[in-house]
Amino acid sequence: MAEKTMSGKELGEILHDLAGRLMDAMELWNDVVFIGIRSGGFLVARNVVSLIERKTGNTVPLGALDIALYRDDVHRRPFTPEVRSTDIPFSVNDKRVILVDDVLNTGRSVRAAIDHIVDLGRPKRIYLMVLFDRGGRELPIQADFVGRHVDLPEEKIIKIEAGPDKITIKDVIVSGVKK
């Protein structure tokens, strides 16, 4: 059961703020591509990309990454994680890649995503952008752009939900024990 949700207005402010900080940091957009981790990260990336495209007038390439096959717990989970497809319609060679996830926690998903990206080519640099950083790292990984730092007990989960158009973020749900 959902315990707490974030208002659309508050979420919109966070996304605008992230887009603004990215625009300051990147300056030129000719070698910048976005890669979102399925499915929450891709949703966040899509929203930020459309804000940036609207503000700068540039077209910014966006791809989706499925990390199921790069996880380090394939043989430790009680079931085999669903494999969805990676869809990166551009080369990552010599690009500045903005890797996007919805929630940064242990850092293991990011590790898997980086391994996946370097299998696709050799980017010039990979930045990490997350909507929420909830701490709890198990690997030495930090985000370059963080929407909001949140402090949550370990058993809580944060999930972002897409609206019916599959593009807008309808809800951010913080709920109780999943496992």
């Binding site: 499925d66 096959l69 790069y70 996880r71 394939v74 043989h75 430790r76 989970r77 009680p78 079931f79 085999t80 994680p81 669903e82 494999v83 969805r84 497809s85 990676t86 869809d87 391994d115 996946h116 299998d119 696709l120 080519g121």
Partner: protein, 310 residues
């Protein structure tokens, strides 16, 4: 979806939902084979042993490539050139292989039932690469995947399977699978190549090919298995080709959009002519490409997850 199987022995063990799950997932695995670096680390440290007691090119190569693209180590043994030909029983051979701790054994065997027996006795995953006249589940899954890829559905398709039904495990697995997925199967063969009890399979059966051709969305030509045909089942290959071969005349009789399939290896000039095998309707090489993706999916599902390891 939770995948409850340690092994892949027969299509008859799988539900329609499970078959659909494999077909869905295989598209994701197919994408890996189109990358520059065609490898993911998923099954690193796992050992896959390929035990082939019958000749095979496609199936063995396909499994080996599939396992390697998932970073598993593969060891391949065939009956000739190993101690199997010195008179060791299959179970002794299997226990010896097992002592070397593989995580998965892919087995092809000339008689039915051995893969199922191994699956029951061994802690590792067992995948049936074809057992006698019983089943060839991975071939049927790649055939269903290829059909689904082409038509976007299996439900409501009419698939004709033509040729040596009696000795064909490919036909059996496809009949079980296609029926579960809502397709209609028509088996076409001379009476001498129809096995006893074929009427209980739930497929239509006929000895005449021509009336079936315009009705079918797909026509799957089976190989005339010369090595199994020690008796005379038909008078000669030319006569067989006239009555049961795919040729230019029959290609032209097919529906718009209908496809020709063959599990390979082909006897060109017997069950299929050059122009049919290489023509626009042929999806024979797509079947081969899809075989790798489907086998990657099955290796992943069989070996991933703790349920299947403990």
């Amino acid at each position: 979806m939770n995948w409850p199987h340690k092994d892949v022995i027969a299509i008859s063990d799988l539900t329609a939902g499970e078959i659909g799950h494999v077909l869905d997932m295989a598209s994701s695995f197919k994408e890996i084979s189109r990358r520059d670096i065609k490898k993911v680390p998923t099954l690193r440290g796992k050992t896959v042993v390929l035990l082939f007691y019958e000749p095979s090119t496609r199936t063995r190569l396909s499994f080996e490539i599939a396992a390697k693209r998932l970073s598993a180590d593969t060891v391949s043994l065939s009956a000739s050139g190993s101690s199997f030909s010195k008179g060791e029983t299959i179970m002794d051979a299997v226990y010896n292989v097992m002592a070397m701790a593989p995580d998965c054994i892919v087995i092809r065997y000339p008689y039915a039932g051995i893969p199922a027996k191994m699956a029951e006795l061994l802690p590792c995953s067992v995948i049936n690469g074809g057992d006698g006249f019983h089943e060839h589940p991975t071939q049927a899954l790649l055939d269903m995947y290829s059909l689904h890829e082409h038509f976007g559905r299996l439900q409501g398709l009419t698939v004709a399977i033509v040729g040596d039904i009696m000795h064909s495990r490919v036909a059996r697995s496809n009949v079980y699978g296609l029926k579960k997925m809502g397709a209609t199967v028509v088996l076409v063969a001379p009476k001498t190549l129809l096995p006893p009890g074929v009427e209980t399979w739930g497929a239509q059966v006929t000895t005449e090919l021509d009336p079936v051709i315009p009705e079918a969305d797909a026509v799957m030509m089976l190989r005339v298995q010369k090595e199994r045909l020690s008796e005379r089942f038909f008078s000669d290959e030319r006569e067989y080709a006239v009555f049961y071969g795919m040729n230019k005349r029959r290609v032209d009789m097919m529906k718009d959009g209908a496809v020709i399939m063959h599990p390979g290896p082909m006897n060109r000039g017997v069950e299929i002519t050059y122009d049919a095998a290489d023509g626009a309707r042929s999806i024979i090489l797509d079947q081969v490409e899809n075989g790798v993706a489907v086998r990657m999916t099955l290796l992943y599902l069989s070996m991933g997850g703790t349920v299947n390891v403990d």
